[in-house]
């Protein structure tokens, strides 16, 4: 009798709660040599924009204690090319493929949603209103409740039948306020959290370690912040929450389910070893059995205090 790891998430049925986080798993295909993509609960691809984007100058990444900084700047091949060249190669009929959307204003977000709403192989739209690494829009969207609500609404209107997830920034005074606004705007689920804004410098060259100066902090270092954000948001809104931030083991997955998350995404940990997400998905049912947890539904949000 194996533990039940299936999850219903805003209209999607996931085999298991282990998805991959946008920007840390390429377009999925890069990781196919390291595991069976169909064994994952879902795959969120690199942030897509209407037109291809060059991204930021190099260097773009820096290592930090138990984590890393990135300022990729949303380099991507554009939504058209993704739909034409990448999506057909992904196992979209067996595993939900989620598009992560980046745009500079509400109109552009709406247009992008419109393009993706018609793509059969796309299971959901994740709206990135929290990228710290781009000049226009980006994080500012995710720091203003009114703006967050407006963007959620704009995307939802054009998303057709696709569920809309809004991805929140932790770089705010009150994440609950933004979460509520996004749900009011029409978000079907919330993804918590994007990176923390950080910085690193080289004392010898006297230069920032990222050409962009500031970047997004991710990895195990930020797990306590992610856990706090997910817990706060789960208590405040009824929409399901997808947790992301520093997860690198099946134990970590259960921590986030315990505070109320429906599913999780593996981000930076995919860099620790390219089979990480596969290993975590495989390990989860066994760990649940060891702990006497019959199903995620029974465990979810059962934190006592």
């Amino acid at each position: 009798m194996s533990a039940d790891v299936s999850v219903r998430l805003a209209g999607l049925a996931l085999k298991n709660p282990v998805m991959t986080a946008s920007g840390t798993f390429g377009y999925g295909l890069e990781f196919a040599p390291y595991g069976d993509l169909r064994s994952l609960g879902g795959i969120v691809v690199k942030g897509l924009s209407l037109k291809p984007r060059l991204g930021n100058p190099m260097p773009r990444i820096a290592e930090t204690p138990c984590g890393m900084l990135n300022a990729i700047g949303l380099q991507n091949c554009g939504v058209e090319k993704f739909l034409r060249d990448k999506l057909p190669l992904l196992p979209h009929s067996e595993t939900p493929i989620v598009a992560n959307l980046y745009a500079c204003d509400a109109d552009e977000f709406a247009e992008l949603a419109g393009v993706l709403s018609g793509a059969a192989g796309v299971a959901a739209l994740e709206v990135n209103i929290s990228c710290p690494n781009v000049k226009a829009g980006g994080i500012a969207f995710g720091q203003d409740p009114a703006m967050a609500g407006r963007l959620a609404e704009a995307v939802k209107k054009r998303a057709g039948s696709k569920p809309v997830w809004v991805k929140l920034s932790p770089n705010v005074t009150d994440i609950v306020e933004i979460a509520r606004a996004a749900v009011l705007g029409g978000a079907d689920a919330l993804t918590c959290i994007n990176t923390l804004t950080g910085m690193a410098v080289d004392i010898r060259s006297r230069k920032p370690r990222l050409a962009n100066v500031i970047g997004g902090l991710s990895g195990p270092a930020i797990k306590p912040v992610a856990l706090r954000c997910v817990w706060q948001v789960c208590r405040a809104v009824s929409a399901p929450v997808i947790a992301v931030g520093g997860i690198s083991s099946a134990e970590d997955v259960l921590e986030f389910i315990l505070v109320g998350a429906h599913a999780v995404q593996i981000g930076t940990a995919n860099f620790m070893r390219p089979d990480m997400a596969f290993r975590i998905a495989e390990r989860l049912p066994g760990l649940m059995e060891e702990l006497g947890i019959e199903s995620l539904d029974s465990y979810r949000g059962s934190l006592s205090s």
């Binding site: 920007g23 840390t24 798993f25 390429g26 890069e30 990781f31 040599p33 390291y34 595991g35 069976d36 690199k46 060059l54 991204g55 100058p57 190099m58 260097p59 773009r60 990444i61 820096a62 290592e63 930090t64 204690p65 138990c66 984590g67 890393m68 990135n70 990729i72 380099q75 050409a211 990895g219 195990p220 690198s248 930076t268 995919n270 860099f271 620790m272 070893r273 390219p274 089979d275 596969f278 290993r279 495989e282 390990r283």
Partner: protein, 265 residues
């Protein structure tokens, strides 16, 4: 845990200083189990992450394939930071995650006179290149180094290839002399094939000289990498079209004219 594919957990077979003075200068040869890595081209690399890293440092580390046999993979590692210090302090039996061969190796044109320009640890991929080259007498090696020559796998290569010379850079004053020598080498080899691996300033010099003499040249970059498999877009280099290309999948070896090599990255 099952086997998920091309990322495997292997044992360290041995860690030994390279030459009698290797330990003092942080130069080591690491021998790992070869878990059945596919055929590799010299210049390709592997990602290694010892269990000992725990969660800090977070990234694996990229290393050129220095020698690959059916049973073992040898890396030539210079201890120069947190990760390489840990690696060079491992002992037989310690475990590491290993994936590869990754990226694009050096061009192989057996009949064409080929000059290998190596700076420091940049000699590593050329050990494999020479060992697997069908006609090593067509090869010559110019090696610039700072540590004693015995700290590098130079002697064995020198025996194998047609010609080998080493240049020791002891003081900053030696640098212009070395660059002059490189100028002469590239000028003389302009009709052949030039391959270079070493620190970025060294590669920039090679690229400049290759342009100067219209030589066909490849350089192997050592950009910072988080994933090594094309997943993070962190390791990019600007190409001649102004786009950023991943050095882990489209490189680390590039033809000089493919890139817009900037002095500063």
């Amino acid at each position: 845990m099952g086997n998920f594919g091309a990322c495997r957990d292997v044992s360290i077979l041995s860690v030994a200083p390279c030459g009698p003075e290797g330990a003092a200068h942080g130069c080591y040869l690491l021998e790992l189990e070869n878990p059945g890595l596919g055929p590799a081209a010299a210049g390709q690399f592997v990602m290694v992450r010892p269990e000992r890293f725990g969660q800090n440092p977070i990234w694996p580390r990229p290393f050129s394939i220095c020698r690959l046999t059916t049973r073992t993979l040898t890396l030539f590692v210079q201890a120069c930071g947190r990760g390489t210090d840990i690696l060079c302090g491992l002992a037989a039996g310690d475990k590491a995650a290993l994936w590869g061969p990754l990226g694009q190796g050096f061009a192989l044109e057996p009949e064409i006179p080929t000059v290998m320009l190596a700076g420091g640890v940049g000699i590593a991929p050329f050990v494999e290149y020479a060992a697997t080259h069908p006609a090593p007498s067509n090869l010559s090696l110019v090696f610039g180094h700072r540590q004693p020559l015995s700290c590098y796998p130079f002697a064995a290569m020198a025996e194998l290839v047609g010609r080998a010379e080493a240049f020791c850079e002891k003081t900053p004053d030696d640098l212009p002399v070395f660059i002059e020598r490189l100028d002469a080498v590239v000028a003389g080899a302009a009709s052949g094939l030039i391959l270079a691996c070493g620190p970025r300033p060294f590669l920039l010099t090679v690229a400049r000289l290759a342009r100067k003499y219209s030589a066909r040249a490849q350089v192997s970059l050592e950009n910072r990498m988080a994933c090594g498999v094309g997943g993070c877009l962190g390791c990019v280099e600007k190409n001649a079209l102004g786009a950023y290309v991943q050095t882990c999948t489209e490189g680390p070896v590039f033809w000089v004219e493919e890139l817009a090599l900037a002095e500063d990255a």
